[in-house]
């Protein structure tokens, strides 16, 4: 079994190396390496799932990695229900996205590079979820980040793409700095970084220590999982190829933060206030991102904001202590959001890369497969039964209510309304009504089977995967996960009333109806609404001007400071004295002057000055 685990993890890496290093003569056949590699990994994951379903767990220490006398980090893998759910989800979605990519990336000059990165990504993601300690988790964490930047900037000839890559990189550094601090706080206080020791020590740690660790770790999650205030990179990340957006920026990598919080449930449930912060940030992000999606006209950006919003839901789930619901939503979301992105990619493919919804319309007739699968995905996302999203979103909101977070429940419910509205606004604008751009419409065509078959498979997934979680704690999914998670003590549960149970669904249906009447019947007309709520509309259109605010309050000052520092230190202090001394040289006409480098003398003056200063400081003590 250990061999299968190692195989599952490393085969994608082998695929990446084969394509990356040796693949240049077989450029066009890169998928013959990449797809089987993921296929093997997928089968391995399913086999492992069967093994874990039988009640087993597996801890494999491949080797001692960083040995110090009383402290040890192993290169170790840990297979338990939580990591099994993750690897099964990741490999399944990856496999179909790989197949889809064969059609989507066909003929791209970077075909081989693309598959090499994609394989590398899957390896990194598996490493992230299989690690048995925080340092190894961090390795995967950084590696998925690296693949993500590379794939966002995949078409680096496009300036917007390379800018987006850089933005993702810089924003994530902020979060990662926090993550490292978290690991080090853990190391200093617990003296270990492997899950088992840390979780066993968690109840004995002081509140301040646990608070610091969990807060810092959550900073990392905010960056990676695009939560407020670090969410700004994800919408721009849509510059990458669409299958990448589906795999990395919707289904898998961005959920790493949720996984990490759930994995650290022993820590998060030991300290209430940080957990509340997690839930609060999640709720705020959910509604903020959903509100921006209401008016956006870029088909991929709408889905990106929707991803941010859904990640917010997941953080509500893990923040309020209902870890299993967060993971459940992560798992269903991976299927229907990957599906939505791939269908959006199919639309783009048909329209030669067009993303603006204002130019689309009536496409359903031209591309029925894409249309139907998209609607399935949208119904799942909007939380309509019996589609997957209904069960998971409902579970989170219900848990919020049970644990007395009424405000969060209201925010989540209103967000559910917004979600249904913007998804069906998108559907009505893209697939129904009259074509807005005749020429684009004329050339539109259904995608090849290599793309539509994965769509259908994922669509079936978007319908059925939620069923394993019906009935929540009593359901097979929740029972399976339970041993991996640690639950916080909580007060008496407040049973929701009937209307509270059904309100989110009602709101979802209302959202669909409103979108239908606005965009199909023009009642009330979208333009009229925009005029009536002009200020609000402008705010939403401007995405609450968060990017601009960051630019003014963070980017500009830092840039200014860096330039100032550079000028001050390099120009004025060093060059200035250089020039000054050079002038002095000319005046005195010394021998050294013939060497023509005034700088040397300045440097010497500096040395004397510094030596004197140090001496003075030392003697003063």
């Amino acid at each position: 079994m250990e061999k299968i685990l190692v195989l599952t993890l490393f085969v994608p890496l082998v695929g990446a190396i084969i394509n990356g290093v040796f693949g240049s003569p077989f450029k066009k056949y890169a998928h013959w390496v990449a797809v089987p590699a993921i296929g093997i990994s997928w089968l391995g994951a399913l086999y492992l799932l069967k093994f874990v379903l039988a009640g087993n767990t597996l801890l494999v220490n491949l080797w001692q990695w960083i040995p110090v006398k009383d402290f040890n980090v192993n290169f170790g893998l840990y297979l338990d229900p939580l990591s099994t759910v993750m690897i099964a989800t990741v490999t399944t979605v990856s496999f179909f996205i790989h197949i889809y990519s064969i059609g989507y990336m066909h003929g791209d000059p970077g075909y081989r590079r693309y598959f090499s990165y994609l394989n590398l990504f899957v390896f990194s993601m598996l490493l992230l979820v299989l690690a048995n300690n925080y340092v190894l988790l961090f390795v995967g964490w950084e590696a998925v980040g690296l693949c993500s930047y590379l794939l966002i900037g995949f078409w680096y000839e496009k300036k917007s793409a390379s800018d987006a890559g850089k933005k993702a990189f810089i924003v994530n550094r902020i979060g990662d700095a926090g993550f490292i601090l978290g690991i080090f706080t853990m190391f200093f206080t617990v003296g270990a970084v492997d899950y088992r020791t840390v979780f066993e020590a968690a109840p004995h740690l002081s509140a301040a220590v646990v608070g610091a660790i969990t807060f810092f770790l959550f900073m990392g999650a905010m960056g990676k999982s695009a939560q407020f205030p670090l969410y700004v990179w994800l919408p721009d990340a849509m510059e990458g190829p669409t299958p990448v957006s589906a795999l990395i920026h919707a289904a898998t990598m961005v959920t790493a933060g949720v996984y990490m919080v759930a994995r650290s449930s022993a820590l998060y449930s030991a300290h209430g206030s940080v957990a509340n912060l997690v839930a609060g940030i999640g709720a705020f992000t959910a509604i903020l991102a959903a509100s921006i999606a209401l008016v956006n006209d870029d088909i991929k950006r709408v889905l990106a904001y929707s991803t941010i919003s859904q990640l917010g839901y997941m953080f509500i789930g893990v923040g309020i202590g209902a870890y299993a619901t967060g993971i459940f939503h992560l798992y269903t979301h991976a299927f229907f959001k990957a599906l939505l992105f791939l269908t959006a990619g199919s639309v783009m493919h048909a329209l030669h890369g067009e993303l603006n919804m204002q130019k689309m319309g009536g496409l359903f007739k031209k591309m029925p497969h894409t249309g139907i699968t998209f609607i399935i995905g949208a119904l799942a996302l909007s939380g309509i039964p019996p589609f997957a999203g209904f069960f998971s979103k409902d579970a989170i909101l219900k848990e919020a209510l049970l644990r007395g977070h009424v405000t969060i429940w209201w925010i989540g419910t209103i967000t559910a309304f917004m979600t249904a509205f913007y998804m069906f606004r998108l559907i009505f604008m893209v697939f129904f009504g009259n074509p807005r751009d005749k020429e684009l419409y004329e050339h539109a065509h259904e995608s090849p089977a290599v793309m539509t078959i994965p769509l259908w498979i994922l669509a079936i997934g978007a319908i059925v995967v939620g069923w394993v979680g019906i009935g929540e704690d009593a359901s097979p999914f929740f029972k399976f996960l339970a041993p991996s998670l640690h639950y916080a003590e909580h007060g008496a549960l407040i049973e929701p009333t009937v209307w509270q149970e059904w309100l989110p669904l009602a709101f979802g249906i209302l959202g669909i109806i409103l979108a239908w009447s606005m965009y199909m019947k023009n009642l009330p007309s979208p333009e009229g609404m925009a005029r009536t709520f002009r200020t609000f509309y402008k705010l939403l259109k401007g995405k609450w001007y968060v990017d601009e605010i960051y630019d003014i309050f963070i980017v500009k000052p830092i840039h200014f400071l860096a330039v100032l520092l550079f000028k001050l230190v390099d120009r004025i202090l060093i060059d200035g004295t250089v020039n000054g001394v050079a002038w002095l040289n000319r005046a005195v006409g010394s021998i050294l002057n013939k060497i023509q480098t005034g700088a040397v003398k300045t440097y010497m003056v500096w040395i004397v000055f510094a030596a004197t200063l140090i001496l003075w400081l030392q003697l003063l003590k």
């Binding site: 930047y149 000839e157 490292i180 080090f184 440097y603 510094a610 140090i614």
Partner: protein
């Protein structure tokens, strides 16, 4: 006299003479002379390893050899061999003196690590400095080379003067220049009455040493020399001589003044903090890769100084490990810089490298990632050991500063990756195939991952030499 303990150095001296004779007989046959040099070094290495565990004092108390010093020899040898490999592809027409200077600088470094007397230290230091001048200035007709050489010469002489004054003052205070005798006297008599004198001495010695390891504010030569000197020589400068610098600091501060760490710890702490911050902040703004690595090498010296502040065995081992891993990183990076070309070392020249030469871009990315200190690379492990030793001795603030600096440095290291992978090349030109430069690149990558994934073995060996 116990001459055999310096057998490796003696072999190298003979090789140096041989190299000069060969150069005189058949001038400018680079690969031949280089091979002779490598053979000499390998022979010296063989004797060094065969005597690895033998400790001894020789040459009338001037040198004291132990396994720990021989560990440093290993780093110097690796640096020298990698430099020779780089030189085969890099230099087209230089005189064989290059290898002579290389060997003499190697001897200088080895003796530095083994001197047990301040005068011996000074002599080896000067041997090293003068040989390095020969290496830096080897391409005398090239732009900036004269400037770089001259700057190094004048400033090295200047800082040596400080060091010499420090030695003289030491003699005045202790009536001896032997490090272990100083140590004994300090243990026996304590500081009463001589404290101000010792502080002055230490400051003077520190200035001389800080110059060698390019600690702030004695670093000014570094960016200019790095930009002007040939890339392989720069790599050598940041590996060998820097390790030698740390070896002397360990000798003078840790053994000589071991009894009273409080009198020098303050100075080194200041140096460490300023060196880390200044190096990293200055690197942020540079757009020339060689200059950027110059500031980065300053910053790395700052990290190692952190280990010196925490006076314990683990710190010793951490320093050796750090310099070993840094040697591979810096040689790898400069091997690629040599391939792209010295005069094309601006960030813009690396734009789009992932498309023109994907392998080189990928390797460069690994070197940058390792320098940033991301896990699975040796850069992470070495930083980890350093900060671990600081943390264990309760220098929490130094660790925190180290982290802030790690975050800052990530920006400029990974900017190189961003340029290679996300920018469009201004003009695409194919990089020629250089077998020796590539071999250095591969060696570097292999060791970076070996030390990054399986550090245990090497670390155990280092610890066993303490």
């Amino acid at each position: 006299m116990n001459a055999h303990i310096l057998l490796p150095e003696i072999i190298l001296s003979i090789t140096a003479a041989l190299v000069l004779i060969i150069e005189f007989l058949t001038p400018r046959r680079l690969q031949f002379i280089g091979t002779v040099t490598i053979l000499g070094i390998l022979l010296a290495l063989f004797y060094d390893l065969s005597m690895f565990r033998n400790a001894g004092i020789g040459f009338y108390g001037m040198v004291k050899v132990g396994p720990f010093d021989r560990m440093f020899d290993l780093i110097f040898f690796i640096g020298a061999i990698l430099l020779i490999l780089l030189s085969f592809d890099y230099f087209v027409e230089i005189s064989g003196e290059f290898y002579f200077f290389l060997i003499t600088s190697l001897i200088g470094m080895m003796l530095l690590a083994k001197s047990s007397d301040l005068f011996m230290l000074f002599l080896s230091l000067e041997t090293l400095s003068f040989s390095l001048l020969g290496l830096i200035g080897i391409l005398k007709r090239k732009e900036f080379v004269a400037e770089a050489t001259l700057k190094y010469f004048v400033l090295a002489a200047f800082s040596s003067a400080f060091f010499l004054f420090g030695i003289i003052l030491t003699y005045v205070i202790f009536q001896t220049t032997n490090i272990s005798e100083i140590s004994n006297k300090l243990f026996a008599a304590g500081l009463t009455g001589i404290k101000p004198g010792i502080i002055v001495t230490l400051v003077l010695l520190t200035v001389g040493l800080a110059f060698k390891i390019a600690a702030i504010p004695f670093h000014m030569w570094t960016p200019d020399v790095y930009e002007g000197a040939p890339a392989p020589v720069v790599a050598f400068l940041s590996a060998g001589p820097k390790a030698a610098g740390f070896a002397i600091i360990l000798k003078t501060l840790l053994s000589g003044y071991q009894a009273h760490p409080e009198i020098w710890k303050g100075i080194v702490t200041y140096l460490a903090v300023f060196t880390m911050f200044w190096g990293n902040l200055a690197a942020l703004k540079t757009r020339n890769l060689k200059r950027m690595l110059a500031y980065s090498t300053i910053a790395h010296a700052g990290y190692v100084l952190v280990a010196i502040v925490s006076v314990n065995q683990e710190a010793y081992a951490a320093i050796v490990f750090y310099m070993l891993s840094y040697t591979f990183m810096v040689f790898g990076a400069f091997a690629i810089i040599s391939m792209i070309g010295d005069s094309h070392s601006n960030l813009e020249d690396y734009a789009g490298l992932s498309r023109t030469s994907p392998l080189l871009a990928f390797m460069m990315a690994i070197f940058m990632i390792s320098m940033t200190g991301i896990p699975t690379t040796s850069g992470f492990i070495s930083k980890f050991y350093v900060f671990m030793s600081a943390a264990k001795t309760n220098h929490i603030w130094l660790v925190i500063f180290g982290f802030i600096n790690g975050a800052i440095s990530a920006y400029y290291y990974l900017r190189v990756v961003v340029y290679m992978y996300m920018m469009d090349a201004r003009e695409e030109h194919a990089v020629p195939y250089f077998p020796f430069l590539r071999s250095v690149m591969w060696i570097a990558v292999i060791f970076i991952f070996y030390l990054g994934l399986f550090p245990q073995k090497v670390f155990e060996i280092i610890v066993s030499t303490l």
